[in-house]
Amino acid sequence: MTDIGKNSKDAKGKRQYEITIGLEVHAALSTTTKIFCACGTKFGEAPNSQTCPVCLGMPGVLPVLNENVVKYAIRAALALNCKFNLLNKFDRKNYYYPDLPKNYQISQDYLPIAHDGCLDIFLSSGKRKIRINNIHMEEDAGKNLHAGDTGLLDASLVDFNRAGVPLLEIVTYPDMHSVGEVEKLMTALRDILMYTGVADCKMEEGGLRFEANISLMPFGQTDLGPRVEMKNLNSFKTVIKALNYEIRRQEKSLRQGEKVTQETRLWDDKSGETSPMRSKEEAHDYRYFPEPDLVPLVIDEQLIEEIRSSLAELPASKLERFCKDYGLSEYDARVITSSRALADFYEEVAAVCKEPKTVSNWVTGELQGILNEEKRDIGDCPISPEQLAELLSLLSKGAVSAPSAKIILRDMFHSGKSAKAIIEEKGLSQISDEKDIRPAVKHIINTNTGIVDDYCKGKEKAIGALIGKVMKETRGRADPTKVSQILRELLEEEKRSR
């Protein structure tokens, strides 16, 4: 994806407008039940089957808060370095929409659970802090189905299964200045939410959704310029496309001396454009007031500490530790810590096979390669960390050669057998005894006189080709170090004898 933010330059290559972007992120929490009722949160159930009087907003029913929503929110807030409001309240946000059963959303406005946090993103220029304005708990709405999906021309349909699913809304400060930065932030945030286990962030299920606000101003100005809000962004790709579109649109307006209108725009995936929401003056008068049906929530410092101590290590500190403790390069460490499952897998292998760099090479190289080919994830890798550790230990002890190990790994992946079993079965154990290797080397020298001549004439690099031939002769089983050593010895002899 091109980073338009960086490319908004004039004819002379100078950037004309500074871009400022803030995000509102909605993450569906991975609780078993909804936020205010005991209905399930499973995705993909039959329409309206996962509903009850409470989440349908029937007359006279009342909300009762799910304790896990609070715990998950605390976890996320800790991971995002936020400060807590120990006294929490819920508020009603009033607006009419068919997917909102009560025509108000129970949310937090005045006293949200956490505020003023931050997270780091890593740019080529170094680490950048993006500030979090606040984190609050709220309920999701249902789902409207429109004519395009239903084939009904004069009607829309409503499914309330999602109504009442707990959401965490994370609001950033407008601290991002390019689409690339936004992309980094979204990834970092998703990693944290998944790492802490509070959300599974399945985009295709609407588990992570975004609203972005963006404004452009000529460089050197301090007034941010009119803010355009964009709703309906349901994937990373959509956010990026919509922002790129919007930057181009606003730049064009500004260059032509037009004003950008402060408004809310909707992204349409089909047309690849944003268009203004039919604006109504009162559209934003949400008439927030304290939810009388819920009593205050007072967060116990002790609970925060308990959760803090149980919190999984976050990607950023994991990265640091991997560089330090395992001596990995930052690049390798970043690849491994990009997912919690991969990092955990790596650590389990490294705990048995005490060669962290070898483990890193094999996990990110050969194993990842096979996984990619097979379109599988480390989470459902058929080779267990113990099995891989066994193979790599055999390799480092010299019981098997590297080329053989690659063959064995592939076999393990498909057959599920252990490395030892495969070695035995296929006779792949390494030949490291000199007296077993020497005849093969001699044979190659005798049958490749041309290359030997080259070597003797001073072309020392020719030895590589001969090593390859010996390895092929021994079906990859000979110890390559020994092969090279014997070869050199015999070739030097040959050279001297000429």
């Binding site: 029937m58 007359p59 006279g60 009342l62 009762v64 068919p98 409503v158 007031f289």
Partner: protein, 490 residues
């Protein structure tokens, strides 16, 4: 005396001694309804079949020698803003004309667990917004003491059903006086419990921070028995408080050491002379029983109505937003091509009556951008002042006595076009809702025109016992409850 003219505890004695059956009592109640409810209009929906079914089941249980709860077999009427599973629950509104809840209000579960016999759903002001039971989509309810008068509201149907012996006891709801005011005007006993004492689950919300369900009964003992049956903690209501209670047992406790507060601000202009006289007479009776009197001051009383109508309408504007023709209830019958916005607007304009629309409008306005601080937040602050007034007063006394309403029942139609005038008639009942404290209204006399006058006793939060004891002592001494509406007028 007919069976339906007895109180619940009197019927209980007959049931326990085998002199009558729940089925017979139920039959007597329905006979009265069949004869007279056409003129009273206490009920919207009757559930005769269910009632007899349950009455027979309860009779069988009793015959089998099972231990029965105190109110087993007693017919009870339920205000139509309390949800009854698979039985139409309308809130007296066209917008819920055909709503059949798939769930049971907690209080209904409790009265069923007490083996009571629900006989029907009673008329009320639409969404409990009113003081006269004139705003119901299903027509007005008439005061059994004088059919040209209102029965009070909003629980007018529940009060009238008990007053006219069309039910033995009933359930009402009280947001700003909606149990006590009609109880006073119909000459029955009405108790608004402490906020949080009775579960609101299944009570169709008017103003969530003020609403409370409570009993309307023929006398104080029935009130205590019914309160015992319906109160208690409910996990489905986050504002429900867990306080153990046994009010009926404590009823006859002595009040001779009690200090009764008399608030200056409740005996002022606007209070009808006849009402004041009756209330002062009642205070003398209590003094005669040994209670000490203590002048107290509730200085912010005059601000209660403004405070109440801001808070209640704001909450209502949000609570009633869900009636939009999407999930249940009335929807405007569309010619083709109606937009969503037109559907919403027409559904709500046609589905709600004028008083409900007025209050939704008022509440929407006071919450809207730029006005929230001046109205809603201000009202919440004044609410604190009103609560503080009571706290201070209760430092000096055990309960507070006042009139229930400034006047006896007024004429049907008299105030219907003057909303502010109607609102002002709740002046004495509203403060207890704002403070969340319990209050009871009991009969304390009749006007020259033969209309009942209500005496109100307010207590400390969760101290229903003191107000019930005081009410009981007065009732035993004064015995107004033996006077009943003149049946000849029907």
């Amino acid at each position: 005396m007919e069976l339906n003219e007895l109180t619940a505890h009197e019927i209980r004695n007959l049931l326990e001694s085998g002199k009558t059956s729940s089925e017979e009592v139920t039959r007597a109640v329905f006979a009265k309804i069949d004869r007279e409810d056409g003129q009273i209009g206490a009920y919207i929906t009757l559930c005769k079949e269910w009632a007899f079914d349950r009455a027979k089941t309860v009779d069988r249980k009793r015959k089998d020698g099972q231990a029965m709860p105190p109110l087993a077999g007693i017919p009870i009427a339920i205000k139509d803003n309390i949800c009854t599973r698979d039985i139409r629950t309308t809130c007296s509104s066209k917008i819920l004309e055909n709503f059949f809840p798939p769930y049971q209000a907690t209080v209904v579960e409790k009265i069923l667990a007490s083996d009571m016999v629900p006989i029907g759903k009673t008329n009320m002001d639409e969404f409990a917004m009113g003081s006269s039971t004139e705003t119901s989509f299903f027509g007005v309810t008439h005061n059994p003491w004088n059919l040209e008068m209102i029965p009070g509201g909003s629980s007018g149907g529940s009060a009238a059903s008990v007053a006219n012996d069309e039910a033995i006891v009933s359930l009402g709801s009280d947001t700003g006086g909606s149990i006590r005011q009609p109880a006073g005007m119909c000459g029955v006993v009405g108790l608004k419990p402490t906020y949080g004492k009775v579960s609101r689950f299944g009570l169709i919300a008017f103003a969530s921070s003020l609403d409370q369900i409570g009993p309307l009964t023929g006398d104080v003992e029935d009130s205590a028995l019914l309160l015992d049956a319906i109160c208690g903690h409910d996990a489905r209501d986050s504002t429900s408080v867990d306080v153990p209670a046994n009010h009926a047992k404590a009823l006859s406790g002595s009040i001779s050491k009690n200090i009764i507060g008399i608030p200056d601000e409740y005996f002022v202009g606007g209070l009808e002379t006849e009402v004041e006289t009756a209330v002062r007479e009642a205070i003398k009776v209590l003094e005669g029983l040994g209670a000490k009197l203590q002048r107290v001051s509730l200085p912010h009383t005059d601000y209660a109505i403004a405070t109440y109508y801001i808070i209640a309408t704001a909450e209502a504007s949000s609570n009633l937003a869900r009636y939009d023709g999407v999930k249940y209830g009335y929807r405007h019958k569309a010619e083709k091509g109606l937009s969503l916005s037109e559907m919403y607007g027409k559904t709500r304009s046609e589905g709600f009556g004028v008083e409900v629309k007025r209050r939704i409008g008022l509440g929407t306005y006071t919450l809207s951008a730029g006005y929230y601080d001046a109205y809603y937040l201000k009202a919440q602050r004044v609410r604190t002042l009103i609560r503080n007034d009571f706290e201070k007063a209760f430092g000096k006394c055990d309960c507070i006595i006042a009139p229930t309403s400034p006047t006896a029942a007024f004429r049907i139609g008299e105030k219907i076009d003057n909303p502010l005038q109607m609102y002002l008639s709740d002046i004495f009942t509203i403060p207890a809702n704002l403070a969340g404290i319990p209050a009871i209204s009991i009969p304390c006399g009749l006007t020259r025109d033969g209309l009942p006058i209500g005496l109100q006793i307010m207590g400390k939060a969760f101290d229903e016992t003191t107000i019930l004891q005081t009410a009981y002592a007065y009732e035993q001494a004064a015995d107004w409850r033996t006077i009943t509406p003149d049946g000849n007028k029907l």
